[in-house]
Amino acid sequence: MYGQWRGPLLRYLGALGLPGADAEDVAQEVFLALCHHLRREGGRENLRGWVFRVGHNLALRRREQRGRTVEEVEVADPAPGPEELALLSCRRERLQAVVAALPERDRWCLLLRAEGLRHREIAEVVEISLGAVAAALGRAVGKLAAVEGR
């Protein structure tokens, strides 16, 4: 489980705005909690959703403690040089801009979907209804599809 989910969890935590060291700490905390959960014979259904839910909540708490906002760290490459600007495709940048402008909950749903979570799992992580997940993804993916060039 650790090998399978650590990478996707770290990527998701990074996209939520946690710097690398914080994301590593949170991931470690999540898998430690998972060990305790399994030792206590906690439910084994949808453990992937469990891992992401605990990680999501810990990440938001840590972000609050640090007083950061997602917008401060959301864009993967905040200061590309002129050569990089020339090489990065306009389309990629437009997609990044669309994602950065999404309402936070829509962005969470999109990022979790990109990690392969099903709607039911996303609903558990974000603590919203199945319909609200579909609506959030409909808005988010609809905006991505509208980016010129598709």
């Binding site: 993967a76 590309p80 990089e84 990109a114 599809a145 598709r150």
Partner: protein, 223 residues
């Protein structure tokens, strides 16, 4: 007649929701394919780190880069997965039933020569050696993949254990699962487009390709 909303289409793509109207409506299926394509593209870029770090590598190696992003794929040193920006995958608006009926003839489909040449050019490959590559449909036509440049990439037969033959074996297996009703078509398309090696590992429960797949032959090499 009311068409499906984007939210309803996303639910259908996830294997939930009411599909009676969707299956019979070409307009909704087209929109569904657009949304699935946009999601696939985003997923590939997200999992690939949005190219963060790539820009710096590219700047250092700028002299080797021919135009724009092409050539980066070769410099990356891993050619068993396509460049997500160049080849995010593209699908046709087909239902599961249509895909399964059409599969036999689609297996024979080969990328047109001009399009294959464009694929090599986009990937910065000059004078490709005959029979060294397969100009591969990332999402195979037998799984509803489209004949578009965004769905094609030059997959080498060598250089890695994750060869074109191994991917062909995965495509064959996924199509069987889709047509047996054991796998949603949209899920199969998404998995193979975003990380076909990860999908192989998942479905065959192995870290390395199975011996019998190393010589699996379905598609013909580029000559």
């Amino acid at each position: 007649m009311r068409h499906c909303t984007d939210a309803e289409l996303m639910a259908i793509l996830d294997g939930e929701g009411e599909r009676a109207h969707f299956d019979g409506c070409a307009q909704c299926r087209t929109r569904g394919a657009e949304l699935a394509g946009a999601l696939r593209e985003f997923t590939a870029l997200h999992r690939g780190g949005w190219g963060a770090g790539w820009g710096r590598y590219a700047a250092a190696a700028a002299a080797l880069v021919v135009v724009g992003g092409m050539g980066l794929w070769l410099l990356r040193g891993r050619t068993d997965l396509p460049d997500a920006a160049l080849t995010p995958g593209a699908t046709r608006p087909m239902t599961q039933a249509e895909v399964c009926v059409a599969a036999a003839q689609d297996d024979e489909q080969r990328a047109p020569r001009e399009m294959a040449a464009e694929v090599f050019a986009r990937y910065g490959i000059r004078n490709p050696a005959p029979r060294a590559y397969e100009v591969d449909y990332l999402i195979s036509p037998a799984l509803g993949g489209a004949e578009e440049i965004r769905n094609l990439w030059p997959q080498p037969y060598g250089g890695s254990v994750w060869t074109a033959r191994v991917k062909d074996a995965l495509e064959d297996y996924l199509r069987k699962r889709v047509c047996n009703g054991r796998l949603e078509l949209a899920t199969a398309q998404e998995e193979i487009a975003t990380d076909w090696i990860g999908a192989y590992r998942k479905y065959f429960q192995t870290d390395r390709p199975l011996r019998e797949h190393a010589g699996f032959v379905k598609d013909r090499p580029w000559e």
